[in-house]
Subunit: 194 residues, 4 copies
DNA sequence: TATGAATGAGTCTTCATTCAT
DNA sequence: AATGAATGAAGACTCATTCAT
């Protein structure tokens, strides 16, 4: 029972995620989700009592499933430069992604809710990114691969540029070339010899 | 008549702007605007036939009224460094602005409409910013105030960082200190002696 | 316009009154009223925003239209006994009334709302009744028609008996004979010679 | 099984009684009862198939548990006056009772169902009261404690006054003083020397 | 017996849009 | 030009009742 229930809940979350990707946050209604899940109106309310509740669950799952920024890349053999390049490559993919893009819904949600929530997951994610980059930069500097930059400043700069690229990609549109150029600029400020 | 008509239209646009600032784009209804304008339901439809139409007009006015990025600062006596600092100061103010902030509505609008529109005003604005910065950087380099950087790359970097700060401020929140730090990083990469 | 609007409102109130009589208070939905009025769902909301609001308006009209308890009977020529008998006759009619009976809805409403409201119209009506009876009893005693009873106590007793008859009529049912008997008991305690 | 079953049923009835006291009749849903009983939705339906059915069972138990009006008071030594005073004291307590008051639910139920049911328990209860009072009054008259009133009329009058007080207490509110005054009026019409 | 997931109907409420005046 | 009453569709939410397990 409980297991079946959990499966159903998971199905709803999975389906809802797809809808949030399609329609953002504000446009999604309980009806949309009900129809997409092929369940009854009342049935959905057994599991969630509002779109927001569903959204937050999607967000939670999203985060728990997202690997730590560099976890997958950090192997013993990889150099700091390797890791950085892979990181940028993934970021590029994410920035340019047209489908399967959950970020617009996230933006919309936080526009709606304001910044009151202390445990803002976006902030957490951002800070995690900064910290991971700091570690990486320090490693690269130690190994002589990277310029001896102010790691904190550089890490924050990278994160803000990535955020800028992301939001521009979602609003005014950016070409692959623009992203490449921008990432190259970042790299050239860090890696001693590209 | 036509004049009166134009005045009325202007009133609507002005009032609607305030509402978009308050509530973003998606949350604004014709009803909201009707009520705020003290106009009749039918009356509004004489001038605009949808929220989107009103929004676009607000956007148009907004842009036509926005001074060119550096127009006001560029006086004969000001050095490139002066202009850059003033520019950053204004950007900072805008980024941290809690009231009178139209940007969330703009973001929401472009999330909604996608990127289909070729004449995307956000893009135009962004490009204008890049170009203005390029000119400024060139001027600064010529005068020996700035490092001899790749002006195009530096300008784009600045604009993306500013966009990143802006969206972060609207979603996860940024402190004044964070903005200051980030702007200082930008400045220190450009201005030879701070 | 405003006049037409007022007419419509009046129509709604009048129609709603009929429904409250038919179904009581708790069973009446906005839908019931909408359908009975032959207006649109949204249309009703232009005038009232809840069943309670409509009910209170019905109640208000009801009260404003109800003549003062004895106003119509009190003519110069009528004796106190005449007035008392007419009063009882009307009360009997009201108590036994099967159709056009708004009282059940009123009871239900006050069950629902509790007694918190200071300006409880039921209470006002009750007190008005007591006071009117006091005046009448005094008049009857002065004229020698009535026994020299404690007027306040007698008036209250009458009102409570009437309330008792009313609620019994609505719940367990009372026959005309029972009402007649009870009213006769009241009369025989007051009028010197029947 | 049957015993366990009966216990369960009893538990449901007991719990439901509490809910009817809290919320009246019309506001109580199967869901309310299910939740209050910590029973499953389907489980409740094994015992009762509607709120009404449960209510009627509560009502039945209520009546079977209610002692005959004077049963407890009628001892050999007590005078008719004693019994009457105790009866009024209990009625007063019941009339003023704010909690643990089942009467509103009963009223609501009979409003809803109309008077169709022949075996209306309210009526039975009322008639029982009248009859018990008649016996008591006769006893009092025989013993010389009470005035030689028309016992049937006096008994009915008392019962209607009590009903009137009860419904007034539930709708417009009555103070303890009002009840005392009214009961005193009743007593003074019956007991020869108070 | 007992569970609780599932359904679907019913009600409330809000809005964009139209239209007679 | 302008009004604002009116409509009807759309979405949220709740519950009685059923049914597979």
């Amino acid at each position: 029972m409980s297991e079946k229930s959990a499966q159903k809940k998971q199905l709803i979350v999975k389906t809802a995620r797809r809808i949030f990707i399609e329609k953002g946050y504000k446009n999604v209604t309980m009806k949309d989700i009900v129809e997409a899940c092929n369940i009854s109106r009342g049935g959905l309310y057994l599991y969630f009592s509002s779109v927001e509740e569903i959204f937050l669950e999607v967000l939670r799952v999203e985060e728990s499933e997202t690997d730590d920024v560099f976890s997958s890349e950090l192997t013993e053999e990889a150099t700091a430069t390797d890791v950085l390049m892979i990181f940028f490559k993934e970021q590029k993919k994410e920035i340019l992604r047209r489908n399967d893009d959950f970020s617009v819904a996230v933006y919309e949600y936080y526009f709606e809710k304001g910044l009151t929530k202390q445990d803002n997951p976006m902030r957490t994610k951002f800070d995690d990114g900064v910290n991971a980059l700091i570690s990486l930069l320090e490693a690269g500097i130690d190994s002589g691969e990277f310029y001896d930059v102010d790691v904190r400043a550089a890490a924050a700069n990278i994160m803000f540029v990535l955020e800028g690229l992301r939001i521009c990609a979602r609003t005014m549109g950016v070409t692959e070339g623009m992203v490449d150029d921008e990432l190259l600029t970042l790299v050239s400020g860090i890696v001693a010899e590209v």
